[in-house]
Symmetry: C2
Subunit: 326 residues, 2 copies
């Protein structure tokens, strides 16, 4: 193995409760990893010092010096100025205008790259994951909210200004659901895991005869976004209605995205994507029928994400440019 | 004036009924222009031969040889493979897989560039027009349908595959309006000039006491997308309701676009944009209130297009790369 081939990348997944740090090779395989509590109540200087020192210790503990490291990528929640490595605003960790790259470099003297975590996750699926080999991909994460990341020509497309590419905040249904962003009826209010859970709670409360109510142990607090799918698979009418409604809204959002970006592939991430084919098969049927110019133009396929719990670290690592010999 | 400064560009606006051809300088001012009937019932070879010979004659008639011409751009309706200069599909002129650039070069031996006409119009507004000086702009044309063109980093973004960037075909209302694309409730079914005209016809027929019915001379065939605005300005309740409803749908579509692309500026083209401030003022108020992260992130402004009837030629000419000394 040549010296160059053995160079590694650091991928840092900055979350609300924990910072996950990994050392990856240039095939984006995780060679070593650790995590530290975020401790977001502290100053950003303390948070970043911990992050940098832990990463440096992980490198040296595994026999690497900073000179063996091509760079470090950080995926941060919120709005990130990726060009300057600044976290402009993150509600999650209560940061405003934090010079993340500059600070981190004090403890980890390698090139530092930062971007929004959903953007990182999208690029991560392209370099190693469900969209591997595709240059144009859109990732839609179905979790607490609906997040999105867009990759065009192998690069993250973050919009013309920081704060763009908010795919969860396009108009979807018409029930007048208030979104956390202030607008009504955003895709997120229908297609997030939270939305499905809330819809399922309402449905179960109204239908004590349903299997759905049975499956949550007659306790609405135990409802989650998986139980409606379980109930539907067992033939429960309430479960079927919930799943059908959920997929209908998601299908509309995905078709909007296909019509706008016409990507090679659309990747679904977040907890709900564990449903795999139960989700993607009806979505792909809908796309084939409803995508603009479906009979003459390319219709992208929907798949589920494959980087799982490592998506954050892989995605962050994918920010670091590597030049492979061809 | 140096020889280089005096080089010109040919801009060709290929329409369903006429082909408009202009000679432009590098400030995109039209120095000379002409037009020929498209005659789309003929073979594409004949249409393109006419186009090329007419352009060449316009050049020589104005004292330019092909060597004085930096190149020619063609804006075509339909789906265009801009990389290879091929019109993949155009319902409008009934073309399929037409090698436009290759054919045109036989008669006009200069570098040939081609793209979808709405894409060209968007770039045209950036090089000379309402979005001049901005690198990231979205053009939304409100005409028979709702078309769109996206410019990112000073270049047309046409989606990952030909047939992308269909901004008129994102989900909007919830009345179950069937769109020409096969889907229901696309933005186009609410925000095109056609949609406004149809809504106004319905409203006038139901309200013979309205000023709207008066203004169309008691003849629904004379209804157009301007009369509702005229009626509203004169205090007519029907006119006001129509305008409010129309702008509400358009505002939602524009906010979706702002949330996805976060461009510097959003330009409205097509017949309806003659309303100028009556349209853009309420739209900008809505954006300020509803754009994602409006309190912390950049909120794009909406303006009306300014290239008017020359938009096609200017837009087509803007496809030709020029390198200004700066």
């Amino acid at each position: 193995m040549s010296k160059r081939e053995s160079k590694v990348i650091v991928g840092i997944d900055l979350g609300g409760t924990a910072v996950k740090i990994g050392i990856l090779n240039q095939e984006y395989e995780i060679l070593a990893q650790t995590s530290v509590p975020t401790g977001a109540e502290r100053t950003y200087g303390q948070v970043i010092a911990d992050m940098g020192k832990t990463a440096m210790a992980l490198l040296t503990g595994n026999g690497y010096g900073w000179e063996d490291c091509l760079g470090a990528g950080v995926g941060s929640p919120g709005t990130v100025d990726s060009e300057n490595g600044i976290v402009l605003y993150s509600n999650n960790i209560r940061w405003e205008h934090v010079p993340l790259a500059e600070e981190l470099k004090k403890y980890l003297p390698v090139p530092i790259y930062a971007d929004n975590d959903a953007n990182c996750a999208a690029l991560g699926e392209v370099v190693k994951g469900a969209a591997k080999g595709y240059g144009n991909a859109v990732l839609l994460t179905l979790g607490t909210g609906v997040g999105g990341g867009i990759v065009i020509g192998g690069k993250i497309f973050g919009g013309g200004h920081p704060g763009g590419a908010e795919l969860g905040h396009i108009k979807n249904g018409s029930e007048g659901r208030k979104c956390t962003c202030g607008r009504y009826d955003c895709l997120e209010t229908y297609a997030s895991a939270t939305a499905l859970r809330n819809d399922a709670k309402k449905m179960a409360a109204e239908h004590p005869e349903s299997l759905l109510w049975e499956l949550c142990g007659h306790d609405l607090e135990r409802m989650n976004a998986k139980l409606p799918f379980d109930a539907a698979a067992l033939g429960d009418g309430c479960g079927k209605r919930l799943v059908e409604n959920y997929i209908g809204h998601l299908a509309d959002g995905i078709t909007d995205i296909a019509n706008i970006f016409r990507p090679d592939i659309i990747v679904l991430g977040g907890g709900v994507c564990a449903q795999e084919g139960k989700l993607t098969e009806p979505l792909n049927r809908y796309l084939e029928e409803n995508c603009f110019g479906a009979s003459v133009a390319y219709v992208p396929r929907t798949v589920t994400a494959s980087n799982g719990n490592d998506a954050g670290m892989i995605g962050a690592a994918s920010l670091v440019p590597i030049w492979k010999e061809g």
